[in-house]
């Protein structure tokens, strides 16, 4: 099973929306939450629809529209979305109106807009797309489940082009509440994320949509070869064994991987898994990279990582700001993304340079 990334629309805390490469200037903030840089939506979404549209839906429609504008097709054969927390802002809004206003609901709109599949549904409505439409909401597996589904749809010949996206929004209440659990650092400079050596990370958000196609085209970024997930692994031995199995399935060895992109998020406790793999598992001649200092931590951050991997393969260069070691490979033919969320949801995505 494989498919080609033929276009991308990525709204993120960095300037990723315009152009097809790595942004020239990076955003750095003293914060523990990186918010998306949002475009002028009026250029991308019908202004009538824009009124009262929740922010997450604006981000979804804009990034999927940009993806489609650059893609070989105007309407995909399927729409597949992964979102860890869905339309969180509206869920919180409706929940508070139930709890605080003693069930005297002033507006039903937040309820309608709180539905997890509102993102995929609104994209379908925007495109008048009647095809397969699904939404995965499972923490650190959300985007990976969407990718696997898209790969299967293409393998089944059910679809030639699948629009697949990973999207999550951050809200003030989410930041506030999860601070109780020590999820976040004190405000830090995101570009220096690994310097602090403290527990906690920085929150983030993003909306990255990809057109996956059965065949490559002129503008193809990369080929997706495999995706896999595993849950609740007991220790690094189990992680290694899962990656072994994954690579064996893809018929490659560790030495074949030119670049490993790790989900390192600056939390000294949870990053141990990544550092162990760098030291004791992966091949020292592979290049190592990371990305959460650019987009923050969120359940579908691997969609941002997939964008990064795709532009690295297409441009054949690894931006210095994402590099972790000084190894060098002549060509970047194979990239592995390995991420875990608090050692619970582990995921692997393998990409390669289109032949």
């Amino acid at each position: 099973m494989h498919s080609y990334i033929t276009s991308i629309g990525n709204i993120s805390p960095q300037n990723t929306l315009k152009g097809v490469g790595f942004p020239d200037e990076l955003i750095s903030r003293e914060s523990n939450c990186l918010a998306c840089i949002e475009p002028d939506y009026r250029e991308l979404i019908n202004p009538v629809q824009l009124r009262r549209m929740p922010r997450i839906l604006k981000m979804a429609l804009a990034s999927s529209q940009i993806c489609i504008n650059q893609s070989p097709v105007s309407n995909p054969d399927a729409i597949v979305v992964g979102t860890g927390l869905g339309c969180l802002e509206n869920l919180e809004k409706f929940l508070l109106s139930v709890l605080k206003d003693n069930e005297h609901i002033l507006s039903v709109l937040p309820f309608i807009n709180s539905t997890h599949n509102a993102v995929a549904a609104q994209i379908a409505m925007m495109l008048k797309n009647y095809n397969y439409n699904i939404t995965y909401c499972h923490r650190g597996f959300s985007f990976e489940s969407a990718l696997l589904d898209a790969l299967m749809l293409i393998d089944e010949k059910e679809a030639e082009h699948v629009l697949v996206g990973g999207i999550d929004e951050c809200t003030p209440n989410f930041i506030f509440l999860h601070n109780y659990l020590g999820y976040w650092k004190q405000p830090v400079d995101n570009l220096q994320l690994l310097k602090y050596k403290t527990s906690g990370t920085i929150a983030g958000e993003g909306s990255a949509f990809f057109m996956l196609s059965a065949k490559p085209c002129d503008q193809t970024y990369a080929r997706i070869d495999a995706v896999s997930t595993c849950f609740n692994l007991a220790n690094t031995d189990e992680v290694e064994s899962e990656i072994d199995t994954f690579l064996r399935g893809a018929q490659i060895s560790k030495q074949d991987i030119d670049l490993v992109i790790f989900g390192i998020n600056g939390d000294i406790y949870y990053d141990k898994t990544y550092y162990h793999l760098q030291k004791s598992y992966f091949d020292a001649s592979s290049m190592y990279g990371y990305y959460k200092h650019l987009c923050g931590e969120y359940y579908t951050s691997t969609a941002f990582a997939l964008w990064l991997a795709a532009i690295i393969i297409k441009s054949q260069s690894v931006p210095a700001v994402v590099r972790l070691n000084s190894a060098n490979r002549q060509a970047i033919k194979r990239v592995l993304i390995y991420n875990h969320i608090r050692n619970m949801e582990h995921s692997m995505i393998l990409l390669s340079m289109p032949e």
Partner: protein, 396 residues
């Protein structure tokens, strides 16, 4: 792609019973699970709902949970109970194999505990440990931990079609040879959040839903969970095969976020495509377990779609939501289990509270338990966001 997908286990808990036998007994005696709200205080306590008549303490016992009890949402407990029944005839070693998966579905996940603690959490951190159980993934991960499943775990959330889509995904994972065995289903508990949401949408029936009736006045919100164990026919223990999952389709109506089109074209597309996948003709379908929520809009739309597909020879059809209520994220799986039972016991289930056909159509659902040759059953699930899914189960 020719690999057959078979059902080898089922589990169900809803307002009409804590397992398949109790469920059937309620249906055979035409006993609906719709009644008064008792789970929580609400200004809407005069509106009919379909509660599972078991307290959380009893659910903990049924699920066999003895530690960290306070962190089990009602949604997770219902899910564990149904999943445990579905897996009861299977060796544990098979369940935790890397070629076994778990696909769950829910609409609001751990909302039952979220609405208990959210207000207080905004003031202080007393209940901070509960923050980890509010989202949609929690129930699936609780089920995964319960069995020790580590691979291919995910949660689908496509509103009222959620768990029909988990059944479909499980079947595709087997057909694509990604997995040999997969637990598929969904779970949702009754919450203030959904009760108020549907109330504000003005689609709740005050007295109990009357699917496909001219005087229908809305849906009845329910709760429950159901899981099915799916296996590749080539690897399944032949004695355990109950029926085949022969067809499935997911289409989108792209019409309106909360309403279905008046001619039901989305439903037509889903049913047509499911028939195509199964290689069956409309005339092969012996019973349709309809989505049939009891809202004015859904039933007319679905009724028209059923006529479009099947007229003039309309098969037996009914909405079992008149028994179970609309269990949202669990509905697709609950009705999939009922479809499996229809084949197992060669019976078409009745539709309660039906008196008068809709003026626009001449459709009359089954109103009695009817023994018949049931070779192929279609189960429809339609949801917000135009998400339409049809499944077809076949006798083997």
């Amino acid at each position: 792609m020719s690999r057959k997908v078979v059902v080898t286990g089922i589990g169900i808990i809803s307002a009409i019973g804590n397992n398949a036998d109790e469920t059937l007994a309620s249906i055979y005696s035409l006993k609906s699970g719709i009644g008064r709200l008792s789970l929580f205080e609400s200004i809407h306590n005069n509106i009919s709902v379909a509660e599972v008549k078991v307290s959380n303490d009893q659910l903990l016992n049924l699920a066999g949970i003895t530690t960290e009890k306070e962190f089990y949402t009602r949604t997770a407990l219902l899910g564990i109970i149904a999943a445990r029944q579905a897996a009861s005839n299977t060796e544990h070693s098979k369940l935790i194999d890397a070629r076994t998966g778990l696909i769950s579905a829910t609409t609001v996940g751990g909302m039952d505990l979220n609405e208990q603690y959210y207000k207080s959490l905004l003031e202080n951190d007393t209940y901070k440990e509960y923050l980890g159980v509010f989202d949609s993934a929690d129930s699936a991960e609780k089920i995964a931990r319960y069995f020790g499943i580590k691979h291919h775990i995910t949660t689908i959330s496509t509103a009222c079609s959620s768990s029909a889509n988990s059944v479909m995904l499980g079947a595709r994972l087997i057909r694509n040879n990604q997995l040999d065995m997969v637990l598929v289903g969904g779970t949702d508990s009754l919450t203030k959040f959904t009760l108020n949401g549907f109330f504000a949408l003005e689609i709740l029936s005050p007295t109990g839903c009357r699917p496909f009736d001219q005087n229908r006045n809305g849906l009845t919100i329910g709760e429950g969970a159901a899981f099915l164990l799916l296996e590749g026919e080539d690897v399944a223990d032949q004695d355990k095969i109950i029926c085949e999952l022969s067809g499935y389709a997911n289409t989108n109506e792209a019409f309106h976020q909360t309403a279905s089109s008046s001619d039901g074209y989305g439903a037509v597309m889903a049913m047509k495509k499911a028939l195509k996948v199964s290689g069956l003709q409309p005339s092969d379908i012996n019973y349709v377990n309809a989505h049939g929520t009891g809202t004015v809009v859904n039933d007319l739309s679905e009724g028209r779609a059923i006529e479009t597909i099947f007229a003039p020879a309309i098969p037996k059809f009914s909405s079992t939501k008149s028994f179970t209520g609309h269990t949202l994220g669990a509905a697709g799986a609950i009705e999939a289990v009922l479809s499996v039972l229809a084949i197992k016991y060669q019976v078409a289930f009745p539709n309660l509270n039906f008196n008068q056909p809709m003026n626009e159509l001449s459709l009359k659902p089954q109103i009695e338990v009817t023994n018949a040759n049931i070779n192929h059953v279609m189960s429809n699930s339609f949801g917000f966001g135009g998400s339409n899914t049809s499944l077809i189960f076949s006798k083997v």
